[in-house]
């Protein structure tokens, strides 16, 4: 069983990223539960999506001890960045998380910067981050995540999103 927590602020597309990750797990034939927590506002505020992926039926639907944590802003790093399994991995977006402990299990990547510079829009940060999470951890297969991304994104943006996923994947691979 792998417990994944995607955190950041509202509007960064983290809940969509959680759904895509969960759908990739379904494609892989795994059991999966996805939940979220967010404030009442649609933009700003904190946002958190969780996925539990397992070969067996999942009882408790929330993350107890995270194996993978993604932090897309400083507040979420402060809250969840250290709340992790001993062998867990933390992925931080260095564009928005300035202060973090650069330990061995921390993968520091310029996610939002890459989105803006590589694809022209910060909104691709969530898909780049997904690429990085999967590239680093292999929680789902590369073909499943690609299929899941393409099934969810707006028509006409498939190529940009495919590219975003690849950018994240490569960044994570390079850093490994």
């Amino acid at each position: 069983m792998i417990q994944i927590r995607l955190s950041g602020s509202g509007g960064q597309g983290l809940i969509l990223a959680g759904i895509i990750l969960a759908e990739a797990a379904v494609i892989d034939g795994k059991e999966v539960v996805q939940t979220q927590a967010y404030g009442p506002e649609a933009r700003g505020g904190s946002s958190k999506a969780e996925c539990i992926i397992s070969d067996e039926a999942i009882d408790y639907p929330k993350v107890t001890v995270a194996d993978v944590v993604l932090c897309l802003n400083q507040e979420s790093y402060n809250k969840y960045g250290k709340d992790i399994h001993a062998d867990g991995i933390v992925i931080v977006d260095t564009t928005l998380v300035r202060e973090f402990e650069n330990k061995e299990n921390v993968l520091a990547l310029p996610v939002t910067k890459t989105a803006v510079e590589g694809l022209g829009k910060a909104i691709f940060a969530n898909i780049i981050a997904l690429g990085a999470v999967v590239g680093k951890t292999g929680v789902v297969t590369k073909t499943a995540i690609e299929q899941a991304v393409l099934a969810r994104v707006p028509r006409g943006t498939e190529e940009l999103n495919r590219k975003a996923l690849a950018l994240g994947w490569e960044m994570a691979q390079k850093a490994c």
């Binding site: 759904i19 969960a22 759908e23 797990a25 379904v26 795994k30 059991e31 999966v32 539960v33 996805q34 939940t35 979220q36 927590a37 967010y38 404030g39 009442p40 999942i58 009882d59 408790y60 639907p61 929330k62 107890t64």
Partner: protein
Amino acid sequence: MSRVVLMQGNQACAEAALAAGVRFFAGYPITPSTEVAEIFAARLPRLGGKFIQMEDEIAGMGAVCGASLAGVKALTATSGPGFSLKQELIGYAAMAEIPVVVVNVQRLGPSTGKPTAPAQGDVMQARWGTHGDRAAIALSPTSVRETYDVTVHAINFSEKFRLPVIILLDEIIGHMREKIALPDPSTLRIIERKKPAVPSGEYLAYKPDDDGVAPLAAFGDGYHYHVTGLVHDETGFPAGSASITADLITRLHTKVYNAKSEITLFDEYFMEDAETAVVAYGGTFRSAMAAVKEARAKGNKVGLIKLITIWPFADEVVARAAAKVGTMIVPELNYGQLVGEVHRAANGRAHIVSLPKVDGGVFTPQEILSVLDKEVG
């Protein structure tokens, strides 16, 4: 063909309702139930059904009652504050015996409370929220897949027993997404309301058959019958004698209680050798299952009872378990509501421990496990 998909609880509820023949939705937007309305808004017109967002919660309830009397299966969805408002016409539907389904995705209250926080604080309201006396049917699922099945059951029960059936979702199950195998709709067992088998001149809309339920004609089918929230006789017209009043109010109970074994949906886990039992429902069941498995891994003989049917309460199930185990633990996301029913059903045969939680969070398995450890030890 069944399909394997990732689906949210609220979505499973809407999908099941469509599969079971619901073709009318009226409601008012409220977190955390809004997805149900949004899905119906998109899907119903494609099926030739009707969706309407009404001016308030009461209006949503009135419109589904009207649609049902016009012969169309109808459902509304809401959350705590809206459930309070709907009580007026839930009572009307009970008295006038109109089949409708009310989905209440529970959130923390009272009042506006915490709109996105899960809670199970409306279980007693589902039973007693409307004034007066009648039997209620309320079902509470523990997973996305079970939400699908429970919704089909709720629609079937409402049609079969001619009453408003309440689905008590909670924010956990309503908003959670899980991998589920969606059944092929053609394999579902769907119950339709009984239609009159007599010519219009002989039809009595409130003359029960042996099962305590009268056939229900649709408005527009030529039966010219009368529906009222006043005490009425079998013709449906107001009548107030003591015996007519007592017969009606009694029948509003017995038509449900006589079918209790059919309506009571539950499951038991590890109860064969259990010395301690957890009684759980809704989203809390998931935490309880994780806790019970851990307790058993430690060698403790702990069992688990899952109540899907909340009302009528599963007295026999609880009584049977109480005769066997020493202690029953009842975790609930409220200050302790259904535990009162467990007490009543156990009737002194077991030690009952209430485990309330009112902080807006869900139970962690550890929170239940620590109480289990204490009670077992």
